[in-house]
């Protein structure tokens, strides 16, 4: 769930960039080391990034009739791990901002936090936890991807509520407002993304894709 360019006040934009930057930089440093040891990994990584970009431009039918786009965070977290997903996700968010005017530079930090950090980790955690609790494979994937997607939307609502607190009820009221407005599109999308991820993971299981870029 992208926050558009210029939507966050300057202070918030800087603060979220400061929160995301260390995490992305750590990821990037680890990635650099991998790339130095295995130069060919840069091609694999680029392929994964391009795949994520193209996937995110895929039109998904949504229950409400409108079309939405999958975030792919859950899929990435389950296929290559949340850490690599963060770096790939940042590159994809940059391309979306620059090529599609979706998202932005000033809001990159906030978007990276919700979609490339929070989303993948929530998806990964839920997926692993559901698996440990004995949930069937398909259900664990569904829950991971759906809750990962919902997680990004909750984090985005949180970010917006912090920036634009309600005049009367403050942060709480604003959070309720943003969460409600986006729920209309995001809940169906999260379910669609959950189902999609199940289909993809099932199809991939039959092909034994090497997860060679797990960071």
């Amino acid at each position: 769930m992208h926050i558009m360019e210029g939507f966050l006040p300057a202070g918030h934009a800087l603060a979220w960039s400061a929160v995301s930057a260390p995490l992305v930089v750590v990821g990037a440093m680890r990635l650099r080391k991998i790339l130095r040891d295995r130069p060919e990994a840069r091609l694999t990584l680029a392929a994964a990034g391009a795949f994520a970009f193209v996937l995110s431009a895929l039109k998904l039918p949504s229950v409400t009739g409108s079309c939405s786009h999958p975030t792919g965070t859950g899929l990435g977290a389950m296929a290559v791990g949340p850490a690599a997903t963060s770096v790939i996700g940042t590159i994809v968010l940059l391309f979306q901002a620059l090529l599609l005017a979706h998202g932005g530079l000033t809001t990159l930090g906030a978007n990276v936090f919700s979609m490339a950090i929070a989303g993948p980790w929530i998806a990964f955690g839920v997926w692993k936890l559901a698996g440990k609790l004995g949930a069937p494979m398909g259900l664990a994937i569904f829950l991971g991807a759906t809750l990962g997607d919902l997680g990004t939307y909750v984090v985005t609502s949180f970010q917006l509520a912090l920036a634009f607190p309600d005049a009367v009820s403050g942060f709480g009221g604003a959070f309720a407002k943003f969460a409600t407005i986006f729920a209309i599109t995001q809940i169906p999308l999260a379910i669609a993304e959950g189902l999609l991820t199940v289909v993809v993971m099932n199809a991939l299981a039959g092909r034994q894709i090497k997860t060679e870029i797990r960071a």
Binding site: L35, A48, G49, A50, V54, L58, L160, D166, A174, L195
Partner: protein, 241 residues
């Protein structure tokens, strides 16, 4: 086909040095963020739009590119119109003004960034980031990602056409299933493409780095000064009003 990318390559400003375009557009972006929305944001929006037209876009194209982000901004800004209190939901006292200010700031910022993307191809932007200290490995990954995007997009759209031809788009469940199968078929294609490219590059002496020659551009300081002056004038003007 990504429209902003196509426009960037066809832009009249295509040959201008990156430094000039970046100073103008990022300067406008900073002004949009820093100045009071009235009249700062409006000025930025006007200047960016003028720039777009001068660089070769038609006004309808420019507006069409602005429309989708504008829609997202409107949905977000709409929340400022209402307020939540113990009594329930009501109209916010100055909600209209707040929403309007937010809308104009965000729109101006979007326009500033968009002006950069429709005049500057991605390769130049990444080259600029490289000069600003982006590690070379990441710059290479970024550029290879960019190259792969177009290959995979063609593949994905052929896959989509083929699924539609076999009625894979009829109904909600089938569309989800088709989209899932497409994604699952696309990922191994992407990884294969990477492996084949590695083979192809090995034959060209690939030793780990993807060094290439970038076309050199000469930066003219006086033009940078003019742009900076213009931006300062805009800032002064809007602070004075």
């Amino acid at each position: 086909m990504i429209e902003a990318d196509r426009l960037a390559h066809a832009s009249r400003w295509r040959r201008l040095p990156l430094a000039e375009k970046a100073l103008l557009c990022l300067g406008l972006l900073i002004l949009a963020m820093a100045l009071p929305p009235w009249p700062g944001a409006v000025l930025v929006l006007l200047v960016a739009s003028a720039g777009a037209v001068i660089s070769g876009l038609t006004l309808p194209t420019w507006l069409r590119l602005l429309a989708p982000p504008c829609f997202f901004i409107l949905t977000g800004a709409a929340t400022l119109l209402v307020q939540v209190s113990a009594d329930g939901i009501g109209l916010a006292a100055d909600g209209g003004i707040q929403a309007g200010l937010l809308l104009s700031r965000a729109l101006a910022a979007v326009a500033a960034l968009l002006l950069l993307t429709v005049t500057t191809p991605m390769a130049e932007l990444v080259q600029g980031l490289r000069r600003l200290g982006l590690p070379v490995e990441l710059a290479e990954v970024t550029m290879t990602t960019y190259r792969f995007i177009f290959i995979l997009q063609d593949t994905a759209s052929a896959m989509h056409a083929s699924q539609m031809a076999r009625l894979g788009g009829d109904g909600w469940r089938r569309r989800i299933r088709s989209a899932g199968l497409l994604a699952a078929a696309l990922l191994p294609r992407a990884l294969d493409q990477a492996r084949r490219l590695e083979m192809g590059l090995l034959a060209r002496g690939f030793d780990g780095s993807l060094r290439t020659l970038m076309p050199a551009q000469r930066v003219r300081p006086w033009r940078l000064a003019v742009i900076a002056g213009g931006l300062a004038l805009m800032a002064g003007l809007s602070l004075w009003i």
